[in-house]
């Protein structure tokens, strides 16, 4: 056996083995550093470029035509918020209730296993395909691009993530406290809402935030649904501006002024994602009881 001969003490062997040990350690440290470099480079560059391009107008104005300086991405920020709100309002409840089915009703059933598998599959569908699906499902019938189509598409993308995390979190709720609720004559639906979901809430909220953060930065599904616009959002049945879309358009344009805006937009987008995640974490962590879960 090769491992045996390698493990036999022998001076040359020991040296070689310890050398290869050090070598591998060094390679793995180097590799990790190599991975962290682009990350840090992106973040630093983003803050540097973005912050230097941010100003009040960015948050208060709509885009100016090419050639005129100034202008901002206020309509995109508002548009993104509307689309994401719509997506969350649809995707989160459906996802959570789907997860409730999987954990509380579907355990051990073929249907449950099937749905679980399909949710994983849906999770892996590329976002550009979801964009086409949103187009074919809604835009084609409405005959025009719309924020509604964008919201629904993003909602569909949120559902599998939310469902699977909800299921996993519900599975960690001890059977004993469900029994306690049943023992008090509490109906099953009320037990699930007030005991199971309540107990699993922190994990479920984290899952929802991850799903939200994921779709918040999505561009591809918006290309053929929200489409983008240079005006303030008016209603859900119109094309609407969205931050990721606008960043894409500006980045691909030949104008320096727009490149600046793209950097600023990216910084705002990432900050928006981080802040909303942090905010929800903070709000839900408050008002928790001493010694509770």
């Amino acid at each position: 056996m090769s491992t045996n001969s390698q493990l036999r003490p022998n001076r040359a062997n020991v040296l070689r083995r310890s050398a290869s040990n050090h070598l591998v350690t060094a390679i793995s440290v180097l590799g990790t550093l190599l991975v962290l470099v682009p990350l840090i480079a992106i973040l630093v560059y983003l803050v540097y470029k973005g912050a230097s391009s941010l100003n009040v107008a960015f948050f208060t104005h709509t885009p100016k035509p090419v050639g005129e300086s100034g202008g901002g991405m206020a309509n995109s920020i508002v548009g993104s918020s509307i689309i994401l709100l719509l997506a969350s309002l649809i995707g989160i409840p459906v996802g959570i209730l789907g997860g409730v089915y999987l954990a509380e009703y579907g355990a051990g059933k073929t249907l449950g296993a099937g749905i679980r598998f399909v949710a994983d599959v849906l999770n892996g569908v590329p976002s550009i395909v979801m964009g086409i699906a949103g187009y074919a499902l809604i835009v084609v019938h409405q005959r025009h691009f719309s924020a509604l189509a964008a919201g629904v598409t993003l909602a569909i993308m949120m559902v599998p993530t939310v469902t699977r995390t909800t299921e996993e979190m519900l599975m960690t709720v001890p059977h004993a406290i469900r029994e306690a609720a049943y023992g008090l004559g509490v109906p099953r639906w009320r037990m699930i809402l007030s005991i199971s979901l309540r107990t699993a809430a922190p994990g479920i909220i984290t899952g929802c935030m991850l799903a939200f953060a994921r779709v918040a930065g999505e561009t591809a599904p918006l290309l053929f649904t929200a489409f983008g616009s240079s005006f303030w959002p008016h209603n859900l049945n119109e094309p609407m501006a969205a931050l990721p879309l606008q960043i894409f358009v500006y980045a691909m344009s030949p104008y320096d002024e727009w490149h600046r805006l793209a950097w600023a937009g990216s910084l705002v987008l990432i900050t928006l994602i981080m802040v909303s995640v942090g905010l929800v974490r903070y709000v839900t962590s408050r008002g928790r009881l001493k010694g509770g879960h």
């Binding site: 350690t25 994983d120 395909v129 074919a136 894409f248 980045a251």
Partner: protein, 352 residues
Amino acid sequence: MADTRIKDAEPPALLKLQVNEPHAVAGHAVEGKAPAAIREFLNKRGSGAAGDGAFGALVLACALSILGIVVLILFVLIQQSKLSLHAFGLKFFITSAWDPVMGDFGALPFIYGTLVTSFLALCIAVPLALCVAIFIMEICPKPLRGPVAFLTELLAAIPSVVYGLWAVFVLVPIMRDHLGPFLVKFFGWTGLFSGTNFGEGLLTASIILSIMILPVISSITREVMGAVPVSQKEGVLALGATRWEMIRIAVLRNARVGIVGGVILGLGRALGETMAVTMVIGNHPDIAKSLFAPGYTLASVIANEFTEATGDLYLSALIEIGLALFLVTVVVNTIARLLVWFVTRNSAREAR
């Protein structure tokens, strides 16, 4: 071990019975009866069957909606790509014509671009992801473990379009002015780095892709490495193995199937990644040997041409590409899930 219950139970004769003898009870007797309102209220409360039925139906509907959505997506994709499916049949995937004016479409250049960029991205990302996973799980000092893991996960939180932006303004110039010439100088003989180097192209797209799929692979790798029983690692260490030998013999050998699963999951991500690739690949339907050459992927051609597609056949061809992408990622993800599931199930069984 003796059953303690038996010790408790003395023979009947010796059992000092205190049956019904009043205890010295701490004075917490409560006078008065429970409010009658409670019992009345609870007795009138119904069986809750209506609520249970409605709630059960609601959650079932939500769960079924996931099935429904997938079926619906498949249905509309097929329906909307019918025109192209009829016109070109399977030939669509092996011809390289892409002529919107003449209405002649073949997806081969996009398949080529997708395969090349995904393959290269895996070649770059897999070793690095392994390094990261090994570093975090086996080498990193404990207090640093969380932060480093968090940082690599942070890579996954950056939106695709921001990667694209960075690639356009930072990576492309580096490719053009530094990395490209370097590759030409040392590896020019391979022929892979010929032609004009604009900075954009297959290689640049692969590099940005590799950064984006790295967190997926490394987090799955970490998960399956964490599932390797400590006893096995200790067993190998006890034989006098060095840390690397322990990692190779105990950890990697046990985790390899799961790692392959993670790699395939990363592949699924790479195949469908759109924005960042579209921004730096050059967007030209060519099948070129040079990695500096502009290319096109399945995802990026959709992103780029969909809204400008004039004519039903053109649109239908693009949707057919979407359908193909859908089916391929479903297959790839299924394989990956099965592998990861297989490994974690096995380790769960061993733990029992």
